[in-house]
Every structure is written in structure tokens, then in C-alpha cells.
């Protein structure tokens, strides 16, 4: 290839992956896997530019959140830096009727669902535990115990089947997010078993970002993760998780496969966590700088920018405007995060039981009396 650029897929791990846009921004028309499935995308120029805008925006909002944490305004932040393509590609592949079950890092998916990006900040600021309605947004509450949500997603998908909502292009599907570490959890494997047995309309979307906090992939598996699917009786596909086009194409196909009644798929999005696990982590203790540098060359955003430039789909005016707009969104987000009110202490007694509890009521009353006993005194 000209200019010393690498061949498509040259950066793939052993066994390959589906890639439709190289790190240099070269477009690959289509990819046919060993299973004989062909993947491609057919975007308009506007849609390509829209994906770029999504990627830049979610990275910018993420950077703002990291800054807010460093300034003491968030208790903790789980950054998605490096995983923007995996999240935007899969998030945009969802149809409105689809249901997503996130971990605690899917801020990019949340954004692509059209949800106000401030929604998870109550959790990270410590003013609530999440607090949104999964059914309103088709986006479940963040789940922090690793892998637990894969079973919730499986059950929800079984419900879709029981409701007769599969078997047509209008059918519903579920996407369950999790990471490479989660694949070692028994519950995730149970999710695979159940989904296979019940032929559930679900896509298991594993963002393999190479690390479970400090532990590298080698501590979780001896085989590529996508190959595990064969043991459960459904297809597994590995994609270049830093390629938003491949992520979109494969996720959209897998979701449509599910909604038309053809069962689950495991997608392994091969990517890299460029930042720390969370703001409390120090990755310099367990990985070397050259590794991080090698992944910078595979950045999910710069390849889209290169593609848009080469194809003359966008120029500096556009790129500048996208940055500026994202910056404004970030500042707006900052202001609204800072304005999030602390909950009244007595609210800790709210929403323990749908049917209420006389014991909780009694404790609430006791707490209120205790609080009131300080009124008028300097404490």
C-alpha cells in the first residue's frame, strides 16, 4: 500500500478481526469471516461525519468527567478513553426498541441512546445510586458487580421471546455489555448457557480492553474470547473495537440476527483501555508506556478523521466546529454537575421497598427526631 501504510488487518491479533477502517483511515469495502458472513456499512457522508462527532463528543465529555473527579467534584470516574469506537459503533447499531444492559463504563452508549449525558453523574458524584428508569430509556441502570447484568439481560431477552416480539425485522433485541474480566465470572457463563438454551434474542458485547484493573487478558483466558461462543452453541465474532465502522456493522447484524429469532451472538470488541481502570487506579504499576504508545497509533478517532480528510468529506472547519460544540457540551455538563444538589439525608430511607416497611418508617421517624434535636444549636 502506498505511503508505507499498513495492510487492512495488519494490526489484528492472531486469528484476525473484522476491520472496515484501518488505523490509517483506509476504508475496507467489506470483510467476510471464516463463517462466511460478510460485513460492510453503507453510510451517507453525513452519517460518517455524525459518527466522528459522536466519537469526539463522548471523549470530550469523558475528559470533563475526569477533570471533575480530579477537582474533587466526583467521588470516582470510570473513563471510557480508548473505547469510544466500541461504544459509539454498538450504541448507534441499536434500534429504538432494543434494550441495553450496561456496566458502569458505557457512557458512550448512553449518549448514543439519546440520553442526557448527565444521567450517570449522580452515581459518580455520590448523590444517588443511579436512579433512572431502565424502561423509559431502554438502558438499564449501571451495574457495578462484574458480570451480574448479563443474567438480567438474558432474562429480559427471554421475556421478549415470551412476549412474541421476535421473528421479524421489527422485533426487539437486547445487548449486554461486559468486559474481558467478566468473562471469568460464573454468572456470565450462566448467561451464555441460558441464552443458548432458550435461543434468546441477545447480543453479548464484550469490550476486551485488555485489562481487568491490573490483570492482563492472559489471566482470564487461554483462547480468544470470541471463540468461547462455540462452546455455548452460538456464533462468536471478533471485531476491531477501535473501528467504529466494523463495530457498527457487526453489532447491527448481530442484533438483527437476534430480533429475527436466530438467537444470541458473542461479539468481542478488541480494544484498549487508554486510561486507568478508574480515577482511583494507577496503571503505571502494571503496564509499560510503550504498550500504551502502540495503541495510540490505533486511536479510534484519528482514523475516522484521516478517512474524512482523505475522502474530502470534511475539513478543518468541520473538525474545529465539532471540537467547539463538544467543548460547549462539556462546559454545560460541568455546570450542571456542579449544580447537582446533595440529597436531604432523610432521603436515604426512600425507596427501600415498593410496599413500604413499618420498620423503615420507624427508623425514618427516629432519624428525623434526632436531626430535629440539633435545630437552633450551633453544631
Amino acid at each position: 500500500m502506498a505511503n508505507g501504510e499498513s495492510e487492512p488487518g495488519a494490526d489484528a491479533p492472531a486469528g484476525g478481526f473484522v476491520q472496515l477502517l484501518t488505523p490509517d483511515g483506509e476504508r475496507v469495502d467489506s470483510v467476510t469471516t471464516a463463517d462466511g458472513v460478510t460485513y460492510s456499512v453503507d453510510f451517507t457522508d453525513d452519517e460518517y461525519r455524525g459518527l466522528y462527532r459522536d466519537l469526539v463528543t463522548v471523549r470530550r465529555l469523558d475528559a470533563e468527567a475526569t477533570a471533575l473527579q480530579r477537582q474533587g467534584e466526583l467521588g470516582i470516574w470510570a473513563s471510557l478513553l480508548g473505547q469510544e469506537a466500541a461504544q459509539v459503533g454498538s450504541g448507534r447499531a441499536l434500534r429504538p426498541q432494543d434494550m441495553a444492559f450496561p456496566t458502569y463504563r458505557e457512557h458512550g452508549v448512553l449518549y448514543c441512546r439519546g440520553i442526557d449525558p448527565i444521567m450517570p453523574f449522580g452515581l459518580f458524584r455520590g448523590v444517588d445510586q443511579g436512579g433512572w428508569d431502565p424502561n423509559e430509556f431502554k438502558f438499564n441502570t449501571y451495574t457495578i458487580v462484574i458480570g451480574s447484568q448479563t443474567l438480567h439481560a438474558t432474562g429480559y431477552a427471554m421475556g421478549i421471546t415470551m412476549d412474541g416480539k421476535t421473528g421479524s425485522p421489527d422485533g426487539e433485541a437486547v445487548i449486554a455489555y461486559f468486559g474481558d474480566g467478566a468473562t471469568s465470572q460464573g454468572e456470565v457463563n450462566e448467561g451464555f448457557v441460558w441464552s443458548g438454551v432458550f435461543h434468546a434474542p441477545i447480543v453479548f458485547f464484550c469490550q476486551n480492553n485488555q485489562y481487568a484493573i491490573s490483570e492482563p487478558l492472559e489471566r482470564q483466558t487461554r483462547i480468544p474470547l470470541y471463540r468461547r461462543a462455540a462452546g455455548y452453541g452460538f456464533p462468536g465474532v471478533r471485531i476491531d473495537g477501535n473501528d467504529v465502522l466494523a463495530t457498527y456493522a457487526v453489532t447491527r447484524a448481530a442484533l438483527d440476527h437476534a430480533r429475527t429469532g436466530q438467537g444470541p451472538t458473542l461479539i468481542e470488541a478488541y480494544t484498549y483501555r487508554m486510561g486507568a481502570h478508574t480515577s482511583s487506579d494507577d496503571p503505571t504499576r502494571y503496564r509499560i508506556a510503550s504498550e500504551v504508545e502502540s495503541w495510540k497509533a490505533k486511536d479510534p478517532i484519528s482514523r475516522v478523521k484521516a478517512f474524512l480528510s482523505k475522502q474530502q468529506l470534511a475539513g478543518d472547519d468541520f473538525f474545529g466546529e465539532v471540537d467547539e460544540t463538544a467543548g460547549k457540551l462539556a462546559l454545560d455538563l460541568r455546570e450542571r454537575v456542579l449544580a447537582l444538589p446533595d440529597p436531604p439525608p432523610v432521603s436515604m430511607f426512600d425507596n427501600v421497598y415498593p410496599g413500604g416497611s413499618p420498620e423503615i418508617d420507624a427508623q425514618r421517624a427516629q432519624f428525623e427526631r434526632y436531626q430535629a434535636s440539633f435545630e437552633g444549636s450551633a453544631h
Binding site: P134, H152, G159, E187, E190
Partner: protein, 326 residues
């Protein structure tokens, strides 16, 4: 019209009634379908309601409860069967970290009307993991409600009330009482609140608290004590979380003495919490400390010695004697 049926059959009728009255009710568990459950509690239900509503699941307890959560988010009302008490622990994470917290986490947006049925307790000569009483683990967890029935009529009504409730409920079934009979009016609607304790034998001298399989032991002890001229009041607690202490306080203020009985190990068991509350609320009425008759603080022992492990009539009466001897 009242029929005389076993506690197990009463549960079966109650589940059938729940399936009939709400199409969103589903039953899921290991062997609950064709087999009808290892204790036959779901006997005949799959045949009548279909494989989509009475679901034979893969052999994975976390999966049973975890998928029930997703089904509940979708609008279903799952009734999960855990085959035996000692097999609930693979599902413990899903019950304690997810089922119990989802309503709170979502600020009341997500209700999980899930019932988790667990046959519990000893006395059936079983091997390890088949005779345990793990109720305190769940009663200790905010967000869960915990109930247990002691007779066929309560079994029939409480299982229906639990399924109709929007709260997540762990429903403990006294497995050694499955075969004991009592009168149940299958046409009657429940006329007693689910989360209420009940005085099952009025008395004036001492208050005896029990639940689940121990209610029968308590009643037998009361009968025996009666012959010695001691008039024991027996309260069936029925609801372990929340506890319904009102009738207990009323009773203890009257009798001045209180003994709590349960099969679970005494250390940090329900009896400990009850003793603390009675002491706080009825301190000036007490003639003696609240005494506990419980399983010993050992792993559930081998079947050949379980009769010595389990509280029985003699141990209960011994505690009654000690209370009076204070």
C-alpha cells in the same frame, strides 16, 4: 368449603391460583416442570400452564434469580424455586446485591416482584446442604422481605399474597411439614395481612415465639406445659423481615417472660434480634431475660444426630423452666 390437605398441596393450590389470576406470573426452577419439583410442590402446573409459564431451567441458581430479574424488569412476576436451602448460595449475589437493591438503586423506578421459594430446615434425615435454615442472611438484607408459613392454610394464602406483592420476597417453606395436613378453604380470599405475626395459642404465663417448622414444636410444648399448670402463649411470627413485633410486645407485657425458638444457629439469629427488641420495648415488664432455643453454632450435623441438634419439646420446656426459675 374447607378441605383437609397437606402443606405441600396447599402451596401447589396457591401457585395454581396465582398462575390463573395473573398471566404475568411464571414459575422457574430446577425440575419444576415435568417432575413437578423434587417435593412435588409444582406438580401438574407445567402440564396445565405450559412450558413458557412453568420453566424447567438450566441447573444454575444464580441464573434462576438473575434471569428472573430481567424478566421482572420486562414486566413478569417470576416465582423462583431453589431446590434446597443449602443450594441458595450460588444465587446469593443476585439476591443480595441485585434483587434487594434494584428498587433503591433506581429510585423506585424498577420493581422486582420476585418470590424466591426455599424449602428449609431439618428433620428429614438428609445429607449435607439439605437441612439448613439460612433465613437470617436474608432477613439481615435491606430490600428483601422474608416470610415463612407453618400450616397449610397459611401456606395457601401467604404464597399468593407474596406473589401479588411488589416487594421481592424470600419465601421459606418448612420442608419437614410438607406432608402435614390441615384445613384450607380454597375458595376463601386471604383475610390476614402477609406481614403480620399471629397469636396461635392464647396464654397468660409466658410468651413462646416460633416460626416455620418450630411452630408445631412450640404448640406441643405449650400443650405439655398446660398439664403442669403453665399457660403458654404461642406466637407464630410468620414474617421475619419486617418483623411484626406489636403482638409480641403486647404478649410479653402481659406475661413478663419470653422464649424464642428457631432451628437456625443461635448466634446472630432471628432470636438475637427479637431478644434485643423485646428488651428495649418491654424492659420493665420482664421478669426474666429473653431466652433463646436454637440450633447449635455448628454446621448442620449428620442426620443421625440431628434430633439432638434440633430444638424439641424438651429443650423448649427446659427454657420455659429456666425463665420461671429466674
Amino acid at each position: 368449603m374447607a378441605e383437609t390437605i397437606t402443606l405441600g398441596k396447599a402451596l401447589n393450590h396457591g401457585l395454581r391460583r396465582a398462575l390463573e389470576s395473573d398471566p404475568k406470573v411464571i414459575i422457574m426452577g430446577e425440575d419444576v416442570g415435568k417432575l413437578g419439583g423434587v417435593f412435588r410442590i409444582t406438580d401438574g402446573l407445567q402440564k396445565d400452564f405450559g412450558e413458557d409459564r412453568v420453566i424447567d431451567t438450566p441447573l444454575a441458581e444464580a441464573g434462576i434469580v438473575g434471569t428472573a430479574i430481567g424478566l421482572a424488569i420486562r414486566g413478569y412476576r417470576p416465582v423462583c424455586e431453589i431446590q434446597f436451602d443449602g443450594f441458595v448460595f450460588p444465587a446469593y449475589n443476585q439476591i443480595v446485591a441485585q434483587v434487594a437493591k434494584m428498587f433503591y438503586r433506581s429510585k423506585g423506578n424498577v420493581r422486582l416482584p420476585i418470590v424466591i421459594r426455599i424449602p428449609y430446615g431439618g428433620g428429614i434425615g438428609a445429607v449435607e446442604h439439605h437441612s439448613e435454615s439460612p433465613e437470617a442472611y436474608f432477613a439481615h438484607t435491606p430490600g428483601l422481605k422474608v416470610v415463612t408459613c407453618a400450616n397449610p392454610a397459611d401456606a395457601y394464602h401467604m404464597i399468593q399474597q407474596s406473589i401479588a406483592s411488589d416487594d421481592p420476597i424470600v419465601f421459606f417453606e418448612p420442608k419437614r411439614r410438607y406432608w402435614e395436613k390441615g384445613a384450607v378453604d380454597l375458595d376463601a380470599a386471604p383475610d390476614f395481612p402477609l406481614h403480620a405475626s399471629r397469636v396461635t395459642r392464647a396464654g397468660s404465663d409466658i410468651t413462646l415465639l416460633a416460626y416455620g417448622p418450630m411452630v408445631k414444636v412450640a404448640l406441643e410444648a405449650a400443650q405439655a406445659a398446660d398439664e403442669d399448670g403453665r399457660n403458654i402463649e404461642v406466637i407464630d411470627l410468620r414474617t421475619l423481615s419486617p418483623l411484626d413485633m406489636g403482638p409480641v410486645y403486647d404478649s410479653v407485657r402481659k406475661t413478663g417472660r419470653c422464649v424464642v425458638v428457631h432451628e437456625a444457629p443461635g448466634n446472630l439469629g432471628l432470636g438475637s434480634e427479637i431478644a434485643a427488641r423485646v428488651t428495649e420495648e418491654c424492659f420493665y415488664s420482664l421478669e426474666a431475660p429473653v431466652l433463646r432455643v436454637a440450633g447449635y453454632d455448628v454446621p448442620y450435623p449428620a442426620a443421625r444426630v440431628e434430633e439432638e441438634y434440633l430444638p424439641d419439646l424438651d429443650r423448649v420446656l427446659d427454657a420455659v423452666d429456666r425463665s420461671f426459675g429466674w
